[in-house]
Symmetry: none
Subunit: 221 residues, 4 copies
């Protein structure tokens, strides 16, 4: 029934079990992610997963005894795949720090326009307000994703202290996440993402370069 959205990510492997088991395990997680992205968390029920995956309801709770475990496994798998991809892409050798910063911005803002990222993270944001596990996993992911940004900032502006670099990275990261709301997948200003990208590059590069140590600590007079 649902659009067969099958993300291109490697899921966590289960430990042990027969080969046949791994198939069902993956089918379930793929179906679950499909539902989450296509129809939101409300649609994430054992019965709808059964429909989409072609398995039976009881079979799903054979792999995941409770819904909580299913959700955790799903988030773990998807967040891990983001982490893996981020780690890979962000540490690739670039020429100048400016160029690497620019590449990073483009990478993230492009990712933001995908259906998967737009929908998945917006669900996570909402869930994280009422679910400690989601909150923690999300925090962990963002921390790791900010790390390469912090490294580049350290190169571009060595005068800044560690907390200052961190806060700057936070500001830039947050700014980019905010683009999801207006220029994410099928958002009203999706078409302006290229312009927003240029503004971001211009603004962030200058911000990092010209920020003076201590400057962000004093209240603006």
């Amino acid at each position: 029934m649902a659009t067969q959205f099958v993300p291109d990510m490697k899921f966590i492997l289960r430990e042990g079990g027969y080969a046949r088991g791994q198939e069902g395990y993956e089918l379930i997680l793929r179906a679950a992610l499909d539902l989450l992205i296509e129809h939101g968390y409300r649609a994430l029920s054992f019965r709808r997963i059964a429909e989409v995956s072609g398995l039976k309801v009881g079979h799903i709770s054979y792999y995941f005894p409770t819904k909580e475990e299913l959700v955790r496994a799903l988030l773990d798998a998807v967040i891990n795949s983001y982490q893996t991809e981020f780690d890979r892409l962000m540490h690739q050798p670039g020429s100048t720090p400016e160029q690497r910063l620019e590449d990073l911005i483009v990478l993230i803002l492009d990712d933001i326009t995908t259906k998967k990222t737009t929908h998945f993270f917006m669900e996570l944001w909402a869930l994280s307000n009422h679910d400690q596990f989601v909150f923690d996993r999300l925090h962990e992911l963002y921390c790791r994703a900010r790390q390469p940004l912090g490294d580049i900032i350290a190169e571009l502006n060595p005068a800044l202290s560690e907390p200052e670099r961190e806060t700057l990275a936070l500001f830039i990261s947050a700014s980019m996440e905010g683009m999801t709301v207006f220029a994410g997948y099928q958002k009203p200003f999706r078409s302006r993402m290229p312009m927003l990208e240029r503004i971001a590059i211009k603004s962030f590069v200058r911000l990092v370069r010209e920020m003076k140590a201590g400057e962000m600590l004093e209240p603006a007079e």
Copy 2:
């Protein structure tokens, strides 16, 4: 500091004041908003609204024949209240354009740290991916909220074209929304919001001032 846009919920009242039986209408929406903010969209059921409001389930579907109507009425009312407050607060006479921009930034970023705004908008973002009505109302709200920002930009940098000003306002607005994810209510970097505010002020003011016409249209060389 920490000006709250919507200190109480008078806004929920329908025009014309208290007609007979209108108290029920208000009670329901108040309870619904409370549930949405405190426990998320999952908790927004007729039964729980009945519990919280002290009314009976049947009574709620007397006012709102379907859940969809209730949700729409709720979002309508709350979004309207934000709109009203935005319109009032953002047009208040300020000294210089810079000062007015700064005031606006502080106003929005402070509002973002409130429980109500953090939780309510994150629910809206998630819902807007699968519900056209939410999508439209949210778009409308943000358009009106960006208007005063566009006006200030026009004053600060008259050389920019209308679409350029709009895109700049979009960028700034999106950046600030993104702060919700990291420095919103009970978010991991809530305590750094003051620093983020200073960075935002510094960065946005310079960005608006120094942006050249046509600059954001060309790809970065």
Copy 3:
């Protein structure tokens, strides 16, 4: 499907509600008792109650939000009906104390041979081992049922102390309950109940008459 076993007892009335509601309420409890007696506690499910009563599953949890509440209401109703009947029958004016004791024994042992009493109490005994509520209600019922027995003993043998009378009543009451196991409804020695009754009368009357104060406190030498 089940044999339409409809006990002749007055159920507790609900407070408030429409007249139509009382019907459904009684239908459910009657069906529940029917199932408990005919097929045991295992058969006491919302779905089987729905089948037997002709109502819908959801309707049953309208009256009884949880199964625990249903079970409690059922036990309350049935135990209350026993209490009412006991209180009525046991306090009726009899000629001599011996005659009243004999009447009581006959009353109880006859009741024990009914399907309702045999099956219902055996379920309760089993449940009471793992359910505090059942334990408490059962204890309460038996305490009240022992009271008239204690009164007769006091008349027949005024020399006994209060705890001695109580323990004697306990012994006699327990003895009679034990008959359920062998001479209850459809039990292997059901047909010998008349003989057991005569033994009981003979034995208990003599036991009460001839018991000496302090005798049951000393270990047999």
Copy 4:
């Protein structure tokens, strides 16, 4: 005091000792009995047996293809063990018949206060109402357990006919079973069991001695 009929569960072993893989068989029944006694028949599921025994669900239905077979094997084993112990303990040579009767009463009433006997037999009583197999096995057990009692009665009162002796044994046996309800394990009058024991001894000895042939056949005048 407090002689326990079945101190450990060796009895559960099938004849022929430990064949290969028999450990599983024993583990399962041990776990099943544990569950039945600790949490009642409701807890007797393959899953919970698997948890308790450390085996896998599939493994349990390898030994016992259906739950019915498992339950029957369990009851069979446990009832057999009671039978064995009864036969052994009740035929041990005593001095006088009175003394042997007294010993028997003490033996049984002490056993009744154990958790295992109180819980196990109350489950059996309830099950026997809806399960012919349980009914039959229980009947058989009680018949054999009554035999030594009948023998003692024959010695004490040779004037009684065989059916009269049998009925007297039935009455005494039933009386003692009834003590389970009030003075069994964790029952409200558990602490009065010593007094009840003395009453039982006094009452039963006199009853057996003084019962006249034909007396229990005529209605009391």
